[in-house]
């Protein structure tokens, strides 16, 4: 080819190159700008409402008196139950599948199901929980039911995160431990768990920050939308000073409180919903930020 033709060809290639650059940039911007506008809008609407009174008041018929006290307390208590079930179960299952389970059709089946469970719509978990926890085990529409339901929901995420961070540990480390006469459990407790801790924690936090915003399964198991009291205090004045009565109390959570306010006709309630949305958003961002920090810290210390 002579030089003129080559130059023409190059110009055409360059043009296509630029074209895709523009398409890519636009696609990125559309998503980003939309999301950003939504968040800004949320802040403009809700920020003035974020007073101490808002955090310390129960819901009310009067929007300016209403607050999120029962909602954020409910969210925290439900998250405690969720973490207490999903974390030990998920980590133990992940360790079993990676370190103990022989590679046969049964573990294969469990593995496939586990990956699919992570993608099941959350309302399905709600239906399952309604039948099992509420009716069969008679836990009622309680904090325990809510926490267990969300625990079930994020269990696959915890298992998958555990397995992935265990798999990242090179086999030579396991062999080094076994060669010194360590048993499987010694190897797991002294090496596998400490070295995969960062990854597991990241998975747990990301799971929890998903659970914190879940609405559908919580509505299905019958969380109330109007709660003007707090659950029983976990600390009591008599021996043994700890009470678990709160587990059986009715509850509401942040996203349900928001949903309740949004569905009312008065604009003032919509502002309350926006304010609650900010709190929920910040909470999620905070948790994700912590997860990123932990991952960074552990990656820096351990490089294979």
């Amino acid at each position: 080819m002579e030089t003129g033709k080559i130059r023409k060809r190059i110009a055409l290639n360059r043009f296509r190159d630029h074209l895709f650059w523009i398409i890519g940039l636009l696609s990125t911007l559309i998503g980003f700008v939309l999301l950003f506008t939504l968040i800004i809008d949320l802040f403009i609407d809700g920020f003035p409402r974020l007073t101490l009174q808002f955090f310390l008041s129960y819901p009310s018929r009067f929007p300016e008196k209403a607050g999120i006290l029962s909602a954020w307390v409910g969210t925290i208590l439900v998250m405690i139950v969720t973490a207490a079930t999903a974390v030990p179960l998920g980590i133990a299952a992940g360790i079993y599948l990676e370190e103990y389970g022989k590679k046969n059709w049964l573990t294969h089946l469990i593995e496939i199901n586990m990956n699919n469970l992570a993608g099941v719509p959350s309302i399905i978990y709600g239906l399952l929980a309604l039948a099992f926890f509420v009716y069969f085990l008679k836990f009622g529409e309680s904090i325990l039911t809510g926490g267990l339901t969300l625990g079930l929901l994020i269990l696959p995420m915890v298992v998958i995160a555990t397995r992935e961070s265990i798999r990242a540990i090179p086999n030579s480390i396991r062999e080094a431990s076994y060669a010194l006469g360590a048993t499987k459990w010694q190897t797991i407790k002294d090496h596998i768990l400490p070295y995969s801790f960062g990854g597991i924690l990241t998975g747990v936090i990301i799971g929890l920050s998903r659970a914190i915003g879940e609405t559908a399964p919580i509505i299905t198991v019958g969380a109330l939308t109007f709660i003007a009291f707090l659950p029983t205090s976990p600390i009591s004045s008599e021996f043994p000073f700890l009470s678990f009565k709160w587990l059986m109390d009715p509850f509401t959570v942040m996203p349900i409180q928001m949903f309740n306010w949004i569905s009312r006709p008065q604009t003032a309630f919509h502002i309350n919903a926006a304010a609650a949305g900010i709190v929920l958003l910040l909470l999620t961002l905070l948790m994700n930020g912590f997860a990123i920090y932990m991952r960074y810290r552990f990656r820096k210390r351990i490089k294979w």
Partner: protein
């Protein structure tokens, strides 16, 4: 091509630490070791040499039952450990007991992402040892034995990953020595190191034979010639020739050995 039965398997003059009798080893259906015999002299260095895939690493890993970690592996025959005449590959013997008596240093330095101190102390901790003074003494002794003490004594509580490759490998040797093993296995311990670090490790291995019986797998023939007292040449899962190292390298009795050590194949 392979000549079986022509091996010079006469009794070695020193005391025996271990004796392999008719060892077969299978990865599922694949036979990796074929009726191999070997005598391991006490407080001497025995080298296993041979081309890639000849089974020398497989052979070494029989001595501390590393194969038991993975499914589908099977041993036949005997590895007798002296003086108590224990058949260490018998299914009746717990592999953990074998690994507590026979330590191993791997091909690539594999320190734990812990401190230098905790790396060396780990074998003792596994045995339930937690007395601080005892551990400190043992760690210092092992680090001195592995010629690392001078370099790390001021940063014994630093992470082991901060050491250089050669130092990490000597740390792994210290870790293996801290539990006073009867046999120390080396699986190509210098293949991931530069020449300076390699010669340090070789010197160290020669020093160590005063205290412990050593078996070393190497693909580096000069290394075998330099450090070992006995050499076994392996090919396709069999031991072709076993003799004193200078005999194997100067007057090999089998043509295949000669061809290998003169670099005509492998």
């Amino acid at each position: 091509m392979v000549i079986i039965g022509a091996m010079d398997m006469r009794q070695i003059p020193e005391g025996l630490k271990a004796e392999v009798k008719g060892l077969n080893f299978y990865y599922n259906d694949v036979q990796a070791l074929k009726k191999v015999d070997l005598q391991i002299a006490e407080k001497k260095i025995t080298a296993l040499i041979g081309p890639s895939g000849c089974g020398k690493t497989t052979y070494l890993r029989c001595f501390n039952r590393m194969h038991d970690l993975y499914p589908g592996n099977r041993y036949e025959g005997e590895i007798i450990l002296y003086p108590d005449r224990l058949n260490i590959i018998s299914p009746k013997i717990d592999p953990i007991e074998v690994r507590m008596r026979i330590s191993m240093v791997f091909q690539k330095p594999n320190p734990f992402p812990k401190t230098v101190f905790e790396n060396v102390a780990y074998g003792l901790r596994v045995r339930g040892e937690n007395r601080k003074h005892f551990l400190e003494e043992k760690v210092e002794k092992a680090l001195k034995q592995s010629a690392l003490w001078k370099e790390v004594k001021d940063r014994i509580h630093d992470l082991a990953f901060n050491l250089s490759g050669g130092q990490q490998q000597r740390l792994c040797i210290a870790r293996a020595l801290a539990t006073d093993p009867e046999i120390l296995l080396f699986d190509e311990p210098t293949s991931a190191l530069d020449p300076t670090a390699t010669s340090k490790i070789e010197e160290l291995i020669m020093q160590l034979k005063k205290e412990v019986t050593i078996i070393i797998v190497t693909h580096n023939m000069q290394q075998a010639a330099r450090v070992s007292d006995y050499t076994a040449f392996m090919y396709l899962g069999e031991i072709i020739e076993f003799d004193k190292t200078d005999k194997v390298f100067t007057h090999p009795s089998i043509r295949l050995t000669e061809e290998y050590i003169t670099g005509r194949f492998g």
